[in-house]
């Protein structure tokens, strides 16, 4: 009898654990939603950074425009994405001695996924790789090709339909971008807006 009671107790405990796991999974793996309904199939999100800058150690590199094209879908209830394009425009440095000769995203597409940090939805961009070729006779990085690599987590604001990337969001999501063996700073505010089948519909993550 004791065994049976123990078994029942164990079953209930296991059930509670399972429920807790499901509850955690549900909150840790949010989905893309349009007008509160889960996205079915794929959608293209296209946007340009409202503001963005990247600080290579000692040298701030800014791009006036920073576009992106992200194909999103829900896979098994979890929001995923594939960043297929990220053209950059008018990139400069904060040093008059250093110019950005060439800059571009490499190894596209970069995969992305949604997750939850505390109660905030996040998008994690993985496999980030940006190549930069600097020029300038008096530039210590002149004729040097620097690569930014890593992953970046940005917090999603459903009300504003934006994703914010900065030191805090990268830290909170356990992601980092590195160049020259050091962590780099990336600040970016991106709108998250559908461009294809769900145009004009509110895009949210939950």
């Amino acid at each position: 009898m004791r065994t049976r009671k123990t078994a029942i107790g164990a079953a209930l405990a296991a059930l509670a654990v399972l429920c807790a796991m499901f509850a955690t999974t549900a909150s840790a793996a949010p989905a893309w939603k349009f007008e509160s309904k889960s996205l079915e199939g794929k959608e293209v999100v296209l946007g340009g950074a409202i503001e963005s800058s990247m600080t290579i150690p000692g040298l701030t590199t800014k791009c006036e425009n920073f576009l992106y094209k992200l194909t999103i879908e829900n896979v098994s209830g979890t929001g995923k994405g594939s960043l297929t394009e990220m053209p950059l425009f008018n990139c400069t440095t904060n040093s008059k001695y250093c110019t950005v000769e060439k800059i571009g995203a490499e190894n596209l597409p970069w995969s992305s996924k949604l997750t939850t940090v505390s109660t905030t939805p996040y998008i994690i961009i993985e496999g980030v790789k940006v190549g930069i070729l600097y020029e300038g006779e008096a530039c210590v990085l002149g004729e040097t090709f620097v690569t930014v690599t890593g992953s970046a987590g940005g917090s999603i604001d459903n009300a504003k339909e934006t994703a914010t990337f900065n030191a805090s969001t990268l830290s909170a999501s356990g992601t980092e971008l590195k160049a020259l063996s050091q962590k780099i700073e990336w600040n970016g505010l991106f709108p998250t807006e559908a461009f294809q089948w769900h145009r004009e519909q509110a895009l949210s993550v939950s």
């Binding site: 009671k5 429920c19 549900a26 509160s36 309904k37 576009l67 190549g131």
Partner: protein, 281 residues
């Protein structure tokens, strides 16, 4: 009421177990039906709308042209009637950016100027690729900040070089060259705090204050043969740079580092770069 002893409790256990099984079954059914009560149901918009993020509110904000413009509109980006453009846009992000700006309002800033080009394979081959890992225990980086150089290795301390360690020197390297440069040029020229050539490519570190055997010392920006890291003002940002050379350049002692670096950049395909900041006080 008489309290039951342990054995008495066990005596009524069969009946309790039977009801417990029924209860367990009911509980299982209830929990499964309610999705264990965790998270919101994917198929339940009402539940989703009940999240902290209000979907209707988001929709309202999203459709308000004014709020979109406030979100960082590119000046002059026209926002014609929404949904006016084709429903299946195609093409690249760059190519469609202007269309997107027009169709979706001002949230997609219209790019100004030409699109930047990624370095091509030939350009990367001709450039010096910063892919050698260069580290120093005297340069400690904190999150989001440049590595800070220990004052010991400046003119406020011993004014001698710190330990430097590297990895990833390509095979076939004939020699290594090392420079410490101010990030900010002086009189429009790179200022060298230290220049060292002829370093054995088999080495993977330089110990603090110990010159590697066979290394050739250049003349630094102070006109001295050796190392001196001494900011003029409150502080300075420096770049420690190690270059792998496929051919030995064999400069003479006291060489001009500016001239040597030009030659280095012409031949070197790989470098290790370590920025560091030193601030007094």
């Amino acid at each position: 009421m008489a309290s039951r002893t342990g054995p008495e409790r066990l005596l009524i256990a069969p009946a309790k177990a039977a009801s417990a099984r029924a209860l367990l079954a009911l509980a299982l059914a209830a929990l499964l039906l309610s999705g264990c009560g965790g998270g919101s149901s994917e198929e339940d918009p009402a539940a989703a709308a009940g999240d902290s993020t209000s979907a209707p509110a988001a929709a309202q904000a999203g459709s308000a042209a004014g709020s979109r413009e406030a979100g960082g509109a590119a000046p002059g980006a026209a926002a014609p009637a929404k949904g006016q453009a084709g429903s299946t846009p195609s093409g690249s992000a760059a190519g469609t950016a202007q269309g997107a700006a027009a169709a979706n309002g001002a949230r997609v800033a219209v790019p100004r100027g030409p699109r930047e080009q990624a370095p091509g394979a030939k350009e990367i081959e001709e450039a010096t690729v910063a892919d050698i890992s260069l580290q120093s225990p005297a340069i400690v980086a904190s999150a989001g900040h440049l590595g800070r150089l220990d004052p010991t290795y400046t003119c406020d301390g011993k004014d001698s070089w710190p330990t430097l360690r590297w990895a990833g020197v390509p095979a076939g390297t004939a020699e290594l060259a090392l420079f410490v440069m101010n990030l900010q040029p002086v009189e429009e020229k790179i200022f060298f705090d230290w220049a060292l050539a002829g370093i054995d490519p088999g080495l993977s570190e330089i110990q603090a204050g110990a010159l590697p055997k066979g290394a050739i010392v250049g003349t630094n920006g102070f006109g001295e043969l050796g190392y001196s890291l001494c900011p003029q003002g409150a502080g300075e940002t420096y770049m420690f740079a190690l270059y792998a050379l496929p051919t030995a350049l064999s400069p003479h002692r006291g060489f001009d580092p500016l001239q040597l670096r030009k030659r280095v950049l012409d031949v070197s395909g790989n470098a290790g770069l370590l920025p560091a900041v030193y601030e007094r006080g």
